[in-house]
Symmetry: C2
Protein backbone atom coordinates (compact mmCIF):
# COMPACT_ATOMS: atom_id res chain seq x y z
CA UNK A 1 0.00 0.00 0.00
CA UNK A 2 1.28 3.45 -0.91
CA UNK A 3 0.69 6.26 1.57
CA UNK A 4 0.02 9.41 -0.46
CA UNK A 5 0.33 12.86 1.08
CA UNK A 6 -1.49 15.87 -0.39
CA UNK A 7 -1.24 19.62 0.09
CA UNK A 8 -4.64 21.22 -0.57
CA UNK A 9 -6.08 24.64 -1.31
CA UNK A 10 -9.83 25.18 -1.17
CA UNK A 11 -12.52 27.81 -1.02
CA UNK A 12 -14.84 26.59 1.73
CA UNK A 13 -17.84 28.78 0.83
CA UNK A 14 -19.79 26.00 -0.87
CA UNK A 15 -19.01 23.23 1.63
CA UNK A 16 -20.20 22.01 5.01
CA UNK A 17 -16.61 21.97 6.22
CA UNK A 18 -13.82 19.43 5.86
CA UNK A 19 -15.40 16.46 7.57
CA UNK A 20 -17.72 14.04 5.78
CA UNK A 21 -21.26 14.25 7.11
CA UNK A 22 -24.76 13.10 6.23
CA UNK A 23 -26.45 16.47 5.77
CA UNK A 24 -24.19 18.29 3.32
CA UNK A 25 -21.26 18.10 0.95
CA UNK A 26 -17.79 18.21 2.56
CA UNK A 27 -14.28 18.65 1.14
CA UNK A 28 -13.35 15.19 2.43
CA UNK A 29 -16.25 13.57 0.59
CA UNK A 30 -15.39 15.28 -2.72
CA UNK A 31 -11.76 14.15 -2.46
CA UNK A 32 -12.73 10.57 -1.57
CA UNK A 33 -15.14 10.39 -4.50
CA UNK A 34 -12.61 11.68 -7.03
CA UNK A 35 -9.90 9.36 -5.72
CA UNK A 36 -12.37 6.48 -6.04
CA UNK A 37 -12.92 7.42 -9.69
CA UNK A 38 -9.15 7.24 -10.30
CA UNK A 39 -8.31 4.13 -8.29
CA UNK A 40 -11.53 2.15 -8.15
CA UNK A 41 -10.98 1.91 -4.39
CA UNK A 42 -13.08 3.22 -1.51
CA UNK A 43 -10.36 5.26 0.20
CA UNK A 44 -10.51 7.25 3.42
CA UNK A 45 -8.81 10.64 3.23
CA UNK A 46 -7.46 11.78 6.60
CA UNK A 47 -6.90 15.51 7.05
CA UNK A 48 -4.68 17.34 9.55
CA UNK A 49 -7.92 18.36 11.25
CA UNK A 50 -11.37 19.69 10.47
CA UNK A 51 -12.10 23.07 9.01
CA UNK A 52 -15.61 24.38 9.67
CA UNK A 53 -18.28 25.24 7.12
CA UNK A 54 -17.25 28.26 5.05
CA UNK A 55 -13.61 28.21 6.20
CA UNK A 56 -10.91 28.16 3.50
CA UNK A 57 -7.51 26.49 3.25
CA UNK A 58 -4.31 27.59 1.58
CA UNK A 59 -2.34 24.64 2.95
CA UNK A 60 -4.46 21.80 4.35
CA UNK A 61 -2.56 18.49 4.50
CA UNK A 62 -4.17 15.06 4.11
CA UNK A 63 -3.12 11.49 3.40
CA UNK A 64 -4.71 8.30 2.09
CA UNK A 65 -3.62 4.72 1.46
CA UNK A 66 -3.97 3.13 -1.95
CA UNK A 67 -2.80 0.11 -3.94
CA UNK A 68 -2.93 2.23 -7.12
CA UNK A 69 0.27 2.30 -9.18
CA UNK A 70 -0.53 5.61 -10.91
CA UNK A 71 2.69 7.70 -10.69
CA UNK A 72 2.50 10.69 -8.30
CA UNK A 73 2.66 13.36 -11.03
CA UNK A 74 -0.08 11.68 -13.08
CA UNK A 75 -2.20 11.25 -9.97
CA UNK A 76 -1.82 14.99 -9.25
CA UNK A 77 -2.84 15.99 -12.78
CA UNK A 78 -5.66 13.46 -12.88
CA UNK A 79 -7.29 14.42 -9.63
CA UNK A 80 -7.04 18.14 -10.40
CA UNK A 81 -8.81 17.55 -13.70
CA UNK A 82 -11.66 15.86 -11.79
CA UNK A 83 -11.96 18.27 -8.86
CA UNK A 84 -14.31 21.29 -8.97
CA UNK A 85 -12.63 24.66 -9.37
CA UNK A 86 -12.89 25.52 -5.66
CA UNK A 87 -10.63 22.63 -4.60
CA UNK A 88 -7.12 21.93 -5.86
CA UNK A 89 -4.33 19.54 -4.88
CA UNK A 90 -1.14 21.62 -4.88
CA UNK A 91 1.30 18.76 -4.34
CA UNK A 92 0.96 15.00 -4.04
CA UNK A 93 3.72 12.56 -3.23
CA UNK A 94 4.38 9.25 -1.57
CA UNK A 95 5.08 9.62 2.16
CA UNK A 96 6.59 7.13 4.57
CA UNK A 97 4.14 4.33 5.42
CA UNK A 98 3.80 5.68 8.96
CA UNK A 99 3.06 9.33 8.06
CA UNK A 100 -0.28 10.40 9.54
CA UNK A 101 -1.74 13.80 8.61
CA UNK A 102 -3.44 14.28 11.98
CA UNK A 103 -1.29 12.49 14.56
CA UNK A 104 2.03 13.86 13.29
CA UNK A 105 1.09 17.58 13.34
CA UNK A 106 3.64 19.75 15.22
CA UNK A 107 1.81 23.05 14.74
CA UNK A 108 -0.72 24.82 12.56
CA UNK A 109 -0.86 28.35 11.19
CA UNK A 110 -4.20 30.10 10.67
CA UNK A 111 -4.80 33.42 8.94
CA UNK A 112 -7.84 35.61 9.62
CA UNK A 113 -8.68 38.56 7.34
CA UNK A 114 -10.67 41.61 8.38
CA UNK A 115 -11.60 44.54 6.16
CA UNK A 116 -11.92 47.59 8.36
CA UNK A 117 -13.33 50.81 6.98
CA UNK A 118 -16.51 52.76 6.39
CA UNK A 119 -17.57 50.96 3.18
CA UNK A 120 -18.06 47.28 2.41
CA UNK A 121 -15.26 45.63 0.39
CA UNK A 122 -15.82 44.31 -3.13
CA UNK A 123 -12.66 42.44 -4.14
CA UNK A 124 -12.01 40.95 -0.67
CA UNK A 125 -15.68 40.36 0.12
CA UNK A 126 -15.66 36.53 -0.02
CA UNK A 127 -12.47 36.28 2.05
CA UNK A 128 -12.78 38.74 4.92
CA UNK A 129 -14.93 39.90 7.81
CA UNK A 130 -16.15 43.43 7.11
CA UNK A 131 -15.93 45.51 10.30
CA UNK A 132 -17.13 49.09 9.66
CA UNK A 133 -16.48 50.35 13.22
CA UNK A 134 -13.19 52.19 13.75
CA UNK A 135 -10.61 49.78 15.21
CA UNK A 136 -7.68 50.75 17.38
CA UNK A 137 -4.88 48.56 16.01
CA UNK A 138 -2.49 49.32 18.86
CA UNK A 139 -5.05 48.07 21.40
CA UNK A 140 -5.57 44.93 19.28
CA UNK A 141 -1.81 44.32 19.14
CA UNK A 142 -1.49 44.71 22.91
CA UNK A 143 -4.48 42.43 23.56
CA UNK A 144 -3.03 39.79 21.22
CA UNK A 145 -0.02 39.43 23.53
CA UNK A 146 -2.32 38.02 26.26
CA UNK A 147 -3.09 35.04 24.04
CA UNK A 148 0.52 34.15 23.32
CA UNK A 149 1.85 31.23 25.38
CA UNK A 150 0.20 28.26 27.07
CA UNK A 151 -3.33 28.89 28.34
CA UNK A 152 -6.70 27.29 28.92
CA UNK A 153 -8.74 28.63 26.00
CA UNK A 154 -12.18 27.55 27.29
CA UNK A 155 -13.46 31.13 27.14
CA UNK A 156 -12.70 31.46 23.44
CA UNK A 157 -13.72 28.19 21.80
CA UNK A 158 -16.87 26.21 21.14
CA UNK A 159 -18.21 24.22 24.06
CA UNK A 160 -19.41 21.65 21.51
CA UNK A 161 -16.11 19.88 21.37
CA UNK A 162 -14.80 16.45 22.25
CA UNK A 163 -11.39 17.82 23.24
CA UNK A 164 -10.03 16.16 26.41
CA UNK A 165 -8.73 19.53 27.61
CA UNK A 166 -8.70 23.17 26.50
CA UNK A 167 -5.03 23.93 27.08
CA UNK A 168 -3.09 24.93 23.97
CA UNK A 169 0.10 26.85 23.22
CA UNK A 170 0.09 29.81 20.83
CA UNK A 171 3.69 30.25 19.70
CA UNK A 172 3.09 33.30 17.55
CA UNK A 173 0.36 35.82 16.88
CA UNK A 174 0.87 38.69 14.45
CA UNK A 175 -1.32 41.60 13.35
CA UNK A 176 -0.53 43.23 9.99
CA UNK A 177 -2.33 46.21 8.51
CA UNK A 178 -2.33 46.38 4.71
CA UNK A 179 -3.77 48.24 1.74
CA UNK A 180 -7.39 49.41 1.82
CA UNK A 181 -8.25 48.56 5.43
CA UNK A 182 -7.15 44.92 5.20
CA UNK A 183 -6.04 43.55 8.58
CA UNK A 184 -4.36 40.16 8.70
CA UNK A 185 -4.18 38.22 11.97
CA UNK A 186 -1.89 35.21 11.79
CA UNK A 187 -1.48 32.73 14.63
CA UNK A 188 0.49 29.55 15.09
CA UNK A 189 -0.31 27.00 17.81
CA UNK A 190 0.42 23.38 18.65
CA UNK A 191 -3.28 22.80 18.16
CA UNK A 192 -6.53 24.71 17.81
CA UNK A 193 -9.84 24.02 19.50
CA UNK A 194 -13.10 24.30 17.59
CA UNK A 195 -13.86 27.99 16.77
CA UNK A 196 -10.77 29.05 18.75
CA UNK A 197 -9.26 31.36 16.10
CA UNK A 198 -12.69 32.92 15.48
CA UNK A 199 -13.31 33.35 19.23
CA UNK A 200 -9.95 35.06 19.71
CA UNK A 201 -10.48 37.30 16.66
CA UNK A 202 -13.99 38.22 17.83
CA UNK A 203 -12.56 39.18 21.23
CA UNK A 204 -9.71 41.20 19.64
CA UNK A 205 -12.22 43.13 17.52
CA UNK A 206 -14.24 43.98 20.65
CA UNK A 207 -11.03 45.34 22.20
CA UNK A 208 -10.25 47.29 19.00
CA UNK A 209 -13.75 48.84 19.03
CA UNK A 210 -13.32 49.89 22.65
CA UNK A 211 -16.13 47.56 23.83
CA UNK A 212 -13.73 45.55 25.95
CA UNK A 213 -10.71 46.82 27.83
CA UNK A 214 -7.26 45.24 27.85
CA UNK A 215 -7.37 44.13 31.48
CA UNK A 216 -10.66 42.36 30.76
CA UNK A 217 -8.93 39.95 28.37
CA UNK A 218 -6.86 38.39 31.14
CA UNK A 219 -9.96 38.11 33.35
CA UNK A 220 -11.88 36.44 30.53
CA UNK A 221 -9.06 33.96 30.04
CA UNK A 222 -9.06 33.14 33.78
CA UNK A 223 -12.84 32.65 33.81
CA UNK A 224 -12.53 29.57 31.54
CA UNK A 225 -16.13 30.08 30.49
CA UNK A 226 -17.26 30.68 26.89
CA UNK A 227 -19.97 33.09 28.07
CA UNK A 228 -17.28 35.64 28.96
CA UNK A 229 -15.37 35.54 25.67
CA UNK A 230 -16.06 37.73 22.64
CA UNK A 231 -18.22 36.89 19.65
CA UNK A 232 -17.25 34.18 17.18
CA UNK A 233 -15.94 35.91 14.05
CA UNK A 234 -17.61 34.71 10.81
CA UNK A 235 -16.04 31.81 8.88
CA UNK A 236 -15.32 33.46 5.51
CA UNK A 237 -12.31 35.41 6.88
CA UNK A 238 -10.53 32.27 8.08
CA UNK A 239 -7.83 30.31 6.23
CA UNK A 240 -5.86 27.24 7.35
CA UNK A 241 -2.56 28.54 6.02
CA UNK A 242 0.02 25.91 6.90
CA UNK A 243 0.40 22.64 8.78
CA UNK A 244 3.86 21.88 10.15
CA UNK A 245 5.18 18.36 10.82
CA UNK B 1 -24.77 72.58 -9.52
CA UNK B 2 -22.59 70.49 -7.24
CA UNK B 3 -19.71 68.57 -8.79
CA UNK B 4 -19.40 65.28 -6.89
CA UNK B 5 -16.24 63.21 -7.04
CA UNK B 6 -16.29 59.47 -6.30
CA UNK B 7 -13.62 56.85 -5.60
CA UNK B 8 -14.83 53.44 -6.80
CA UNK B 9 -13.99 49.79 -6.30
CA UNK B 10 -15.52 47.16 -8.57
CA UNK B 11 -15.26 43.57 -9.68
CA UNK B 12 -15.50 43.78 -13.46
CA UNK B 13 -16.31 40.09 -14.09
CA UNK B 14 -20.02 40.63 -14.66
CA UNK B 15 -19.75 43.84 -16.74
CA UNK B 16 -19.05 44.87 -20.30
CA UNK B 17 -16.45 47.33 -19.04
CA UNK B 18 -16.76 50.85 -17.70
CA UNK B 19 -18.31 52.58 -20.67
CA UNK B 20 -22.05 52.61 -21.31
CA UNK B 21 -22.96 50.66 -24.43
CA UNK B 22 -25.98 49.22 -26.16
CA UNK B 23 -25.14 45.53 -26.04
CA UNK B 24 -24.38 44.91 -22.37
CA UNK B 25 -24.40 46.26 -18.84
CA UNK B 26 -21.55 48.62 -17.90
CA UNK B 27 -20.34 50.05 -14.60
CA UNK B 28 -21.14 53.56 -15.84
CA UNK B 29 -24.75 52.62 -16.60
CA UNK B 30 -25.28 51.02 -13.16
CA UNK B 31 -23.91 54.14 -11.43
CA UNK B 32 -26.01 56.50 -13.54
CA UNK B 33 -29.16 54.48 -12.85
CA UNK B 34 -28.61 54.42 -9.07
CA UNK B 35 -27.80 58.14 -8.97
CA UNK B 36 -31.01 58.77 -10.94
CA UNK B 37 -32.95 56.85 -8.27
CA UNK B 38 -31.46 59.09 -5.58
CA UNK B 39 -31.65 62.46 -7.33
CA UNK B 40 -34.44 62.09 -9.88
CA UNK B 41 -32.00 63.48 -12.44
CA UNK B 42 -30.56 61.92 -15.59
CA UNK B 43 -26.88 62.40 -14.72
CA UNK B 44 -23.82 61.57 -16.77
CA UNK B 45 -21.01 59.94 -14.76
CA UNK B 46 -17.57 60.69 -16.20
CA UNK B 47 -14.77 58.29 -15.30
CA UNK B 48 -11.01 58.82 -15.41
CA UNK B 49 -11.04 56.50 -18.40
CA UNK B 50 -12.52 53.23 -19.61
CA UNK B 51 -11.76 49.86 -18.15
CA UNK B 52 -12.40 46.91 -20.47
CA UNK B 53 -14.83 44.05 -19.97
CA UNK B 54 -13.74 41.87 -17.05
CA UNK B 55 -11.19 44.37 -15.71
CA UNK B 56 -11.46 45.36 -12.03
CA UNK B 57 -10.84 48.62 -10.17
CA UNK B 58 -9.53 49.29 -6.69
CA UNK B 59 -9.45 53.05 -7.24
CA UNK B 60 -11.38 54.29 -10.27
CA UNK B 61 -12.27 57.99 -10.02
CA UNK B 62 -15.42 59.55 -11.52
CA UNK B 63 -17.43 62.74 -11.22
CA UNK B 64 -20.97 63.91 -11.96
CA UNK B 65 -22.95 67.15 -11.68
CA UNK B 66 -26.14 67.33 -9.71
CA UNK B 67 -28.56 69.85 -8.22
CA UNK B 68 -29.30 67.42 -5.38
CA UNK B 69 -28.85 68.79 -1.87
CA UNK B 70 -28.35 65.37 -0.24
CA UNK B 71 -25.30 65.75 2.04
CA UNK B 72 -22.15 63.92 0.86
CA UNK B 73 -22.13 61.33 3.65
CA UNK B 74 -25.81 60.47 3.13
CA UNK B 75 -25.26 60.28 -0.62
CA UNK B 76 -22.40 57.81 -0.03
CA UNK B 77 -24.47 55.58 2.25
CA UNK B 78 -27.51 55.80 0.01
CA UNK B 79 -25.79 54.88 -3.23
CA UNK B 80 -23.92 52.00 -1.59
CA UNK B 81 -27.20 50.59 -0.33
CA UNK B 82 -28.53 50.63 -3.90
CA UNK B 83 -25.45 49.32 -5.72
CA UNK B 84 -24.92 45.58 -6.33
CA UNK B 85 -22.28 43.93 -4.19
CA UNK B 86 -19.64 43.99 -6.96
CA UNK B 87 -19.55 47.81 -7.07
CA UNK B 88 -18.92 50.16 -4.15
CA UNK B 89 -18.29 53.89 -3.77
CA UNK B 90 -15.39 54.21 -1.31
CA UNK B 91 -15.51 57.98 -0.91
CA UNK B 92 -17.76 60.71 -2.28
CA UNK B 93 -17.28 64.44 -1.78
CA UNK B 94 -17.91 67.75 -3.45
CA UNK B 95 -15.07 68.78 -5.73
CA UNK B 96 -14.28 72.16 -7.24
CA UNK B 97 -16.72 73.04 -10.05
CA UNK B 98 -13.93 72.64 -12.60
CA UNK B 99 -12.68 69.22 -11.49
CA UNK B 100 -12.86 66.75 -14.39
CA UNK B 101 -12.16 63.07 -13.75
CA UNK B 102 -10.69 62.49 -17.22
CA UNK B 103 -9.09 65.76 -18.30
CA UNK B 104 -7.32 66.39 -14.98
CA UNK B 105 -5.56 63.01 -14.70
CA UNK B 106 -1.79 63.31 -14.05
CA UNK B 107 -1.06 59.58 -13.99
CA UNK B 108 -2.65 56.18 -13.47
CA UNK B 109 -1.43 53.08 -11.67
CA UNK B 110 -2.44 49.62 -12.89
CA UNK B 111 -1.81 46.30 -11.15
CA UNK B 112 -1.68 42.97 -12.98
CA UNK B 113 -1.73 39.67 -11.07
CA UNK B 114 -0.31 36.39 -12.35
CA UNK B 115 -0.40 33.07 -10.52
CA UNK B 116 2.60 31.08 -11.65
CA UNK B 117 2.95 27.44 -10.70
CA UNK B 118 2.11 23.91 -11.73
CA UNK B 119 -1.47 23.89 -10.37
CA UNK B 120 -4.41 26.22 -10.97
CA UNK B 121 -5.15 28.66 -8.13
CA UNK B 122 -8.38 28.49 -6.14
CA UNK B 123 -8.47 31.56 -3.89
CA UNK B 124 -6.91 33.92 -6.46
CA UNK B 125 -8.69 32.38 -9.44
CA UNK B 126 -11.06 35.29 -10.24
CA UNK B 127 -8.28 37.88 -9.93
CA UNK B 128 -5.23 36.50 -11.70
CA UNK B 129 -3.90 35.02 -14.92
CA UNK B 130 -2.85 31.42 -14.28
CA UNK B 131 0.46 30.73 -16.06
CA UNK B 132 1.59 27.13 -15.45
CA UNK B 133 4.85 27.41 -17.46
CA UNK B 134 7.99 28.09 -15.40
CA UNK B 135 8.77 31.82 -15.52
CA UNK B 136 12.20 33.36 -15.13
CA UNK B 137 11.50 36.39 -12.92
CA UNK B 138 14.94 37.91 -13.42
CA UNK B 139 14.42 37.95 -17.19
CA UNK B 140 10.97 39.53 -16.67
CA UNK B 141 12.47 42.22 -14.42
CA UNK B 142 15.17 43.02 -16.99
CA UNK B 143 12.66 43.13 -19.83
CA UNK B 144 10.40 45.44 -17.82
CA UNK B 145 13.15 48.08 -17.82
CA UNK B 146 12.79 48.43 -21.61
CA UNK B 147 9.23 49.71 -21.12
CA UNK B 148 10.15 52.38 -18.60
CA UNK B 149 10.35 55.89 -20.03
CA UNK B 150 8.76 57.58 -23.04
CA UNK B 151 8.05 55.29 -26.00
CA UNK B 152 5.72 54.64 -28.89
CA UNK B 153 3.67 51.69 -27.60
CA UNK B 154 2.01 50.79 -30.92
CA UNK B 155 3.40 47.23 -30.73
CA UNK B 156 1.75 46.55 -27.40
CA UNK B 157 -1.74 48.04 -27.56
CA UNK B 158 -4.97 47.53 -29.45
CA UNK B 159 -5.06 48.94 -32.96
CA UNK B 160 -8.78 49.59 -32.38
CA UNK B 161 -8.21 52.89 -30.69
CA UNK B 162 -9.03 56.50 -31.39
CA UNK B 163 -5.84 57.74 -29.71
CA UNK B 164 -4.21 60.57 -31.70
CA UNK B 165 -0.77 59.06 -30.98
CA UNK B 166 0.74 56.02 -29.26
CA UNK B 167 3.44 57.78 -27.26
CA UNK B 168 3.15 57.42 -23.50
CA UNK B 169 5.52 57.68 -20.53
CA UNK B 170 5.80 54.84 -18.02
CA UNK B 171 7.26 56.39 -14.86
CA UNK B 172 7.46 53.19 -12.88
CA UNK B 173 7.15 49.47 -13.43
CA UNK B 174 7.63 46.99 -10.60
CA UNK B 175 7.56 43.19 -10.40
CA UNK B 176 6.91 41.62 -6.98
CA UNK B 177 6.84 37.90 -6.25
CA UNK B 178 4.64 36.87 -3.33
CA UNK B 179 3.20 33.87 -1.52
CA UNK B 180 2.07 30.82 -3.51
CA UNK B 181 3.30 31.82 -6.96
CA UNK B 182 1.56 35.20 -7.00
CA UNK B 183 3.38 37.73 -9.21
CA UNK B 184 2.28 41.35 -9.09
CA UNK B 185 3.21 43.72 -11.90
CA UNK B 186 2.50 47.37 -11.09
CA UNK B 187 2.96 50.18 -13.59
CA UNK B 188 2.37 53.90 -13.51
CA UNK B 189 2.07 56.02 -16.66
CA UNK B 190 0.82 59.44 -17.71
CA UNK B 191 -1.77 57.55 -19.74
CA UNK B 192 -2.52 54.06 -21.00
CA UNK B 193 -3.63 53.01 -24.46
CA UNK B 194 -6.32 50.38 -24.94
CA UNK B 195 -5.01 46.92 -23.90
CA UNK B 196 -1.56 48.43 -23.24
CA UNK B 197 -1.00 46.92 -19.78
CA UNK B 198 -2.23 43.54 -21.01
CA UNK B 199 -0.02 43.73 -24.13
CA UNK B 200 3.04 44.56 -22.04
CA UNK B 201 2.25 41.79 -19.50
CA UNK B 202 1.69 39.27 -22.31
CA UNK B 203 5.07 40.21 -23.78
CA UNK B 204 6.80 39.99 -20.37
CA UNK B 205 5.37 36.51 -19.83
CA UNK B 206 6.73 35.40 -23.22
CA UNK B 207 10.16 36.65 -22.11
CA UNK B 208 9.77 34.85 -18.77
CA UNK B 209 8.90 31.60 -20.52
CA UNK B 210 11.95 31.92 -22.77
CA UNK B 211 9.83 32.28 -25.91
CA UNK B 212 11.16 35.77 -26.54
CA UNK B 213 14.65 37.06 -25.81
CA UNK B 214 15.51 40.33 -24.12
CA UNK B 215 16.98 41.98 -27.20
CA UNK B 216 13.79 41.19 -29.07
CA UNK B 217 11.79 43.51 -26.78
CA UNK B 218 13.63 46.59 -28.01
CA UNK B 219 13.20 45.48 -31.62
CA UNK B 220 9.48 44.93 -31.06
CA UNK B 221 9.16 48.41 -29.56
CA UNK B 222 10.95 49.92 -32.58
CA UNK B 223 8.72 48.05 -35.04
CA UNK B 224 5.65 50.03 -33.85
CA UNK B 225 3.43 47.24 -35.14
CA UNK B 226 1.02 45.24 -32.97
CA UNK B 227 1.77 42.07 -34.94
CA UNK B 228 5.25 41.94 -33.34
CA UNK B 229 4.16 42.37 -29.71
CA UNK B 230 3.26 39.56 -27.33
CA UNK B 231 -0.19 38.19 -26.59
CA UNK B 232 -2.81 40.25 -24.78
CA UNK B 233 -3.00 38.96 -21.18
CA UNK B 234 -6.56 38.11 -20.07
CA UNK B 235 -8.66 40.81 -18.34
CA UNK B 236 -9.36 39.14 -14.97
CA UNK B 237 -5.79 39.79 -13.69
CA UNK B 238 -6.01 43.55 -14.27
CA UNK B 239 -6.91 46.23 -11.70
CA UNK B 240 -7.04 50.00 -12.08
CA UNK B 241 -5.36 50.67 -8.75
CA UNK B 242 -5.05 54.44 -8.49
CA UNK B 243 -5.67 57.64 -10.45
CA UNK B 244 -3.49 60.61 -9.57
CA UNK B 245 -4.49 64.25 -10.10
Amino acid sequence: MRNLRMLLEYDGAAYHGWQRQANGLSIQQVLEEKIAVMTGEAVKVIGSGRTDAGVHALGQVAHFKTTSTIPDINFLKGINSLLPRDIVVKTLQEASPTFHARYDVKSKVYLYQIVNGPVRPVINRPYAWFVPAVLNLEQIREAALFFKGTHDFSSFCSTHSDAPNYIRTIMDIRIEAGFDGLIRITMEADGFLRHMVRGIVGTLVEVGRGNRCLSDVQGTMNAKDRRYGGMTAPPQGLFLKEVKY
